[in-house]
């Protein structure tokens, strides 16, 4: 830098910095970050499990009614929605107590995906002692303790649909874990009936929800109703207790007021908004607060301080399963109390038939109703409205779809393999349907965007990946138009280079060298470049992606990314 440049008045420089966009201020965000370590606090008092009926009533009627009467909803819709707050400048969600980037950050092997989270430990040999009947959820179950003292929650399939519920839970759990959500450890196994013994103090809830002793007769009744075969073995889904002490569910709206780390309203979390993409993918229609879990992780045992971690649980409504039975034909196509659909039908006078009425079960009881032909992402509905899903913007959907795009057929097959379907045709069908639904979701999510992701910057070379090309959802041979400009604060930008390319890759060394030769030390004051990509569709440029880079010595560092929506 010359002495002349060094003589720029300090106030002008200060004005430049003050006027510059916030993404220019260091330190810049790395692409994958982690949230600050959570502040330790005492364990929140009490569980806040709302009753199931009231949760259904508020989700289906009270909140939608309030939403309909609220001007906020319409203002938000007109403004394109409120953007999520748990996002860094490169559009990624940081690792936190809510989410941990996995397949989005690195390649996961099929073996990893099939294994699922944690280090699964099979129950120790010997008897499995029943300590209680399963307290919550729609499927019959038990809580077992093995001879090593480990506790397992056990769920079974409905007798008429073997492998339906247990398989669905495993597939969804594996995929959500790979995506980055915190889920419990679970595995499918076969239990010999002879191993299951009743603890004298075992308890269960009776029909009045009172805790009463569980008798041998109760246990025998539960097991015989599951219709074990002549082998006297039952397929069961075993899951481990999630780490920490249970605090009950979290809401998809608002914050947990007794958690000082929970500051971002949940409906403004991209990780929760984007969950709709995965839920629609494997048709997990029951995405309510009842199927979430907060746990308290105690870090400082002496002072009993810790923090809250947030999990998703209970995926028994995925694929073709719906708890104790197979899915009703309309699940995923409309809500359980879908007032809008009812209103349309009232004024339709019965002349219109929903297309999903024509759906039929697959030939496999372990699959039931799970299809891709009629599936349309924009029409998918959970059984009950989800406040976070309702606030999802197109960018939230894109983020989730970018993760989904990394789950190729091998990854899906690995997740399905974890479910251990006895009929390979059923497993193949599930995989095929998941891949077809995935393709539709990707097309829906990428519409209006240029899906360039994964900025890989080495030296002055910038490579990006076009997800439509990578996933094969693009039908035409792509052509990209780029422009590089020197992004200057307080002064006009200066274009350095532009052109067309067959791939979204470019080496900016030449452009930077030319400007450095003309203006030595050019980037000392304002070291930012903006690389703009557009894809040509029918000769016309589409929406753009702006990747902001900082010149640091002999290389570039990506500092921000903006994605335009058409």
């Amino acid at each position: 830098m010359t002495a002349r440049r060094a003589s720029i008045p300090a106030c002008a420089v200060a004005a430049l910095v003050a006027c510059s966009p916030t993404w220019k201020r260091p330190p810049h965000d790395e692409r994958f970050q982690r949230a600050a370590a959570p502040a330790l606090h005492p364990r929140p008092i009490g569980e806040s499990l709302p009753t199931d009926w009231w949760d259904r009533m508020t989700s289906s009627t009270v909140q939608p009614l309030g939403n309909t009467l609220s001007p906020a909803r319409y203002v938000a819709a007109a403004a394109g929605g409120r953007e999520a707050l748990d996002v860094n400048r490169l559009g990624e969600v940081p690792d936190s107590t809510w989410f941990a980037n996995r397949i989005g950050r690195r390649v996961m092997t099929p073996k990893e995906i099939a294994r699922g989270p944690g280090d699964w430990i099979e129950p120790a040999p010997g008897p499995l002692t029943v300590v209680s009947g399963k307290l919550e959820g729609a499927t019959p179950g038990l809580v077992l303790r093995d001879t090593a003292g480990r506790v397992y929650f056990v769920k079974f399939d409905p007798p008429a649909f073997r492998e339906l519920s247990t398989g669905a839970e495993i597939v969804a759990q594996r995929l959500l874990h790979a995506a980055g959500y915190h889920v419990p450890e679970m595995q499918v196994t076969e239990l010999a009936l002879e191993r299951i013994v009743l603890h004298p103090g075992a308890r269960q809830r009776n029909s009045y929800r009172q805790m009463v002793s569980m008798s041998q007769r109760d246990l025998d009744g539960l097991l015989s109703n599951l219709n074990p075969g002549p082998t006297r073995r039952l397929r069961a889904l075993l899951s481990r207790e999630t780490r920490g002490r249970s605090l009950g569910p979290f809401s998809y709206r608002g914050v947990r007021i007794d958690d000082p780390n929970d500051r971002i309203p949940h409906e403004r979390r991209r990780s929760l908004r984007g969950l709709w993409v995965f839920s629609a993918w494997f048709n997990n229609s029951d995405v309510r607060r009842q199927n979430t879990l907060d746990t308290f992780i105690e870090v400082d045992r002496r002072r009993r301080l810790g923090y809250v971690r947030h999990h998703l649980i209970d995926f028994g409504n995925s694929l073709g399963a719906s708890g104790e039975r197979d899915k009703y034909v309309g699940e995923g196509y409309e809500g359980e109390f879908d007032w809008a659909a009812m209103g349309r039908r009232i004024f339709g006078f019965g002349l219109r038939y929903d297309d999903w009425l024509g759906l039929r079960r697959t030939p496999y009881p372990s699959v039931a109703i799970f299809e891709s032909e009629m599936f349309e992402p924009e029409r998918w509905r959970p059984s009950y409205p989800n406040p976070a899903f309702d606030e999802a913007t197109a960018r939230d959907t894109f983020w989730a779809a970018a993760i989904l795009a990394r789950m190729d057929r091998a990854a899906v097959e690995a997740a399905v393999a974890g479910a251990r379907y006895s009929d390979p045709r059923a497993a193949r069908l599930i995989t095929d349907v998941l891949m077809a639904r995935r393709a539709k979701l990707l097309r829906h999510a990428f519409a209006g965007f240029l899906p360039l992701v994964d900025p890989d910057v080495r030296g002055y070379r910038v490579d990006m990946t076009d997800l439509e090309v990578k996933t094969g959802t693009s039908r035409e041979a792509p052509r990209y138009r780029f422009a590089v400009r020197w992004n200057r604060s307080g002064r006009g930008d200066r274009e350095l280079e532009r052109g067309d390319r067959a791939t979204p890759s470019i080496d900016l060394a030449g452009a930077l060298r030319r400007i450095q030769e003309r203006e030595p030390g050019a980037f000392a004051d304002d070291p930012f470049l903006t690389l703009t990509w557009r894809r040509l569709r029918g000769g016309e440029p589409g929406p753009r992606v702006d990747l902001h880079l900082r010149v640091v010595g002999d290389h570039l560092v990506p500092v921000a990314l903006w994605r335009e929506r058409d």
Partner: protein, 485 residues
Amino acid sequence: MALAALALVATPAPALAAPPPGVVGGQAPSTPPEAEPETPSGPPQAGATPAPPAPPLPRAPVPPGPERTSGPLPADRAADIVTPMWREPTVPIDLQWHILALPEYAVELAFTPLGFVVGLVENYRIDRRIIDFLRNDAGTIEVVPLFKFSGGDGFGAGASLELDNLLGHEEEIEIGGLMQLNRDHELEAGYEQSIAGLDGRTLEASITYELNSDLDYFGIGNESRRRDQRVVEQRGLDALAAIEIFERGSRDSYGLVEVGYRRTGLGPGNELSGEPAGEPDDPVAPPPDFGRTTNYGRVGLVLRHDSRDTLARTQRGLLAELSARLTSALDRSELNALSMRGEVTAYLPVLPLYRTLVGRVGVQGVLPPTTDGQIPLDEYVLLGRKNGLRGYADYRFRDRVGWWASLEYRYPIYRFEDSPFVLSPAIFADAGRVGATISDLWKKTVHWDVGVGIAGELETSLIMRFEVGRSDEGFETGFSLGKEL
């Protein structure tokens, strides 16, 4: 700040020192700071130094940082250029947003008390406890709550004790009562049993007492006006015995012979409910049996053909009923009536899946079997909200002959998952008239109405039905739980 900004822009990118061992991502792992001593609580004392601010909460250990996807960091990068630590943004207060969302909060607040009730019911399964309390394990004894609501009569509640096969003869015994807010009440006891010796034919016996202090009465005739409305008090005691004509197993046909006794007293109605009938100089003549208590004997015949596919969500079939009844005063021979009634309801599926057209047509005539006879009030042909004309008030038109017809289109809008519960709205049109002679039936003045309704049904029973009818006399609404409307 200016000097700092100057330092930032004027200094060339400094060479990055190699990160110290054990540091990942350019930041040392932090450890929870030692907690500072707790500050004393309460207001500061005069002259005392102000209490120090509360110490920040300790932090959890930082886990290892994320792996890099774009190759190792060059050694000359400044540690403060990029950071793996995400800086959580300050959450905006968004006051304007919350102001716009006030209606939403108000709705949720309004429903909060309901949440307590629902939570209480579910947590303690009060619903199941009540059901179990009201019936025995064998299902032979059951107490059924009864509710009634109508615009004219108001709200009523009661209960019915149902004994099913308690004595082991396949009998059904029912004893119940209902009282309304205006103290009108009904009491009923019934017995029903199929007699094996009669090839399974059912024998029924019932006794009913009813007090209705505000029975609407508009006079006799098709041309009666709305403002002719009067109220009559009716006390009635009915005892009835009936036996089936056809043996058990007759698929679609049903017949009943009945013999009964009725004691009726008519008098001026409750003046709080309207203008009592029978006032001096009232242009609306009271019914013939007004102002006295009369004992009647009855004998009747009912024939029914029912080929509907289901009882509630009928898609196709026919329900036809023909009945005749002779009523005669036991103490005054001029009060008697021979009534004949026929009604046919046809169900036609116009489109698949419960899009059904229901057509109904009926005719009834009553005449005194003796030349000097007079017809008791209860025996007149009656058209009104519960009888064929849903857009008119109850008991609106009475005369000796009448016809009625209706056309209704029903279609489903909601089904709860795979359950049999369905919500089905309907649009309907009714027409009818009464007259003094048969030739009056073809006269031009026909009363008609249109309306809409909605029903909640299972396959074999109607759970609830709500209807709104509109006629030239205004709107009428009807709501019922169960079959009666």
